[in-house]
Amino acid sequence: MLGRIFLPLLTLMLAYGFWASTSFKDIAAGVALFLFGMLCMEQGFKAYSGGALQRVLSASTDRLWKSMTFGIVSTTLMQSSSLVSVITISFLSAELIGLRQGIGIIFGANLGTTTGAWLVAGFGLKVKLSTYALPMLVFGVLLLMQASKKLKGFGWILVGIGFLFLGIHYMKEGFAAYSEQIDLTQYAMTGIAGLLVFTLIGSVATVIMQSSHATLTLIITALAVGQISYENALALAIGANIGTTITAILGAIGANVAGKRLAGAHLIFNVVTGLVALLLIQGLVAAVDSLSFWLGIAADNHTLKLALFHTLFNLLGILLMLPLVNFLVTWLERRLKEVKVMRDKPRFLSEASLSLPQVALQAVTKETKHLFSNAFTLIAHGVCVRRSSIVSTDDLQLLVDAPGKVIELDMDAQYERMIKDIYSANIEFLSRAQAEASHEYADALNALRLANMDLVGAIKAVKHLRKNLLHYMQSRNLDIRREYNRFRVRIAEVLRSLAVLRETDDTVVALLSLDQIRVEILEGENRAAKAADRLIRGGHVTPQMATSLINDGAYVNEVIQRLLDMNEQLHRAELSHGDPLHEELALKAEEIANIAKYAGTIR
């Protein structure tokens, strides 16, 4: 229920926000670009999984100190801990690194980000992310057009980083309008109250601006002109450290459970570091004063002392959390568990049933029927016809004219869930049974192997067919819609006939009944071919539709033929060895063709 109202509600809120405020539009677009950039980067990193990047990452992150060094160096170079966090989450989601390595990178990134304060305070450098975004997008798209998988992957990464930069830029531009309202000079406070309030302000400001770097730049600038006190500036810096975790959490929205765990680790580290800094602030201030003297920083140079404070409390956090990394990993893995997809398993196969050939044959026959039952549902839903409609007496011809209703389905995921384990087990069982089988059982076992392979072949053909089916069955072009709906009806009718056949107790009669299905198949093929010709000649469909129709017609024929072959093999496996009765009575190809040819004129 909540899921159904969330999207319309969010859409309404966003629409209102866009109407009410240009800044809000910029912020929302920024978030969208940011998330899209993450997806692009994941896509890019996947191209390198198993290759050079994995070797570089493994070499540079295989130990905790190496991961930390990687984090420090990459954040210093990119001047954005948010980006490094997001990249790390992408690496983790693509399984290029493990959680322990990711946590090490995050620790290093927190330390690396303090170099920004040094740069701003020491050299007044400012990095405008949008300056880099557009060239990255241009070069990234150029690389996307290359044939090489590695270049394409790098292109996706560049495009991803470009969109990330652009996203952060739009967010900052949008929030800039709001940040003018954050006038720190009017809110100077002292003591514990000042500490807590300004930590909160720093967090909120960083959440709003989506960049601790931007917040620190503001703080350093304000401090340099005396608009805020040194004491308040320290609290703001602590708050900025905590607020920056929001970017990582946003980045984890599109990530899998590994990415979510890393975002959790980032949040815990920053919050713990912030709390420790608040509790030990007097000691830290004293340490900063001592170190400043040792480093030659003037006592009244508050901006550099702020940078030193920022570095010190992050270093303190790392020293505190380092011994707890393994505990953190275990805790996160326990709290954020991967949702295990239920997979259907074989029900009838066992080691014991292999010992007797008759029992083995019966077991794998039942298991093949189990597989057929699962495949039946997958194929039915793949062509967007409910299984319940097929096994009922519903008139399937009614599906031809109306736009088809999509049945949402991830065929690959369902194949993994419902088919793969049973199919694999059947093939393994059959291989072992065939090795021991006498001639009497060899034909039957071979027939079952072919039946299993035909089923999987039918499913794969449906997967190919579905790509255009989903589009054309709802097309406004009535002719193409009808043809694609006829594809659905043909497959559904074959499934229905086969379901009825399953209830026939006489195997020979069941096999002979397949002749009727063969007539319907041939008639359907003839009609579809004639329809395609008629539509093309009459200009009722575009050339692109016509070629899709022809190609998809071939997939439909493959699905139906595979289902038919599968059933034939399954019934053959149940026949007595050497029984010729079915062969003697079955119709020849020309007899079937004759009946199909004269459809409508028989009587």
Binding site: V509, Q516, E591, I602
Partner: protein
């Protein structure tokens, strides 16, 4: 003695062949009965068919059954003739 053994072997062979033929004929008879029953049932369903599409489908199925039964009957007659020639 040798001849007696040979004759005995030949008698057993013919008996086995007859047994196989008997089994085959019996199976064929059963299948033909089921096909005939199915054909009559379809003829009744045709009367109640709601539209041309359903009627056409039933007609095709009846045609298939007719051909299968025709083949079956020919084989049945052939087997019976062979059995009579042997006995």
């Amino acid at each position: 003695m040798k001849n007696a053994k040979l004759i005995e072997k030949l008698r057993k062979l013919i008996k086995n062949r007859n047994n196989i033929d008997e089994e085959h004929i019996e199976k064929l008879r059963k299948v033909l009965r089921k096909l005939k029953k199915r054909q009559h049932k379809l003829a009744d369903e045709r009367q109640e068919a709601q539209n041309d599409h359903d009627r056409q489908k039933i007609d095709q199925e009846i045609e298939v059954l007719k051909l299968q039964r025709k083949k079956g009957v020919e084989i049945y007659k052939q087997l019976k003739k062979e059995r009579e020639e042997f006995s």
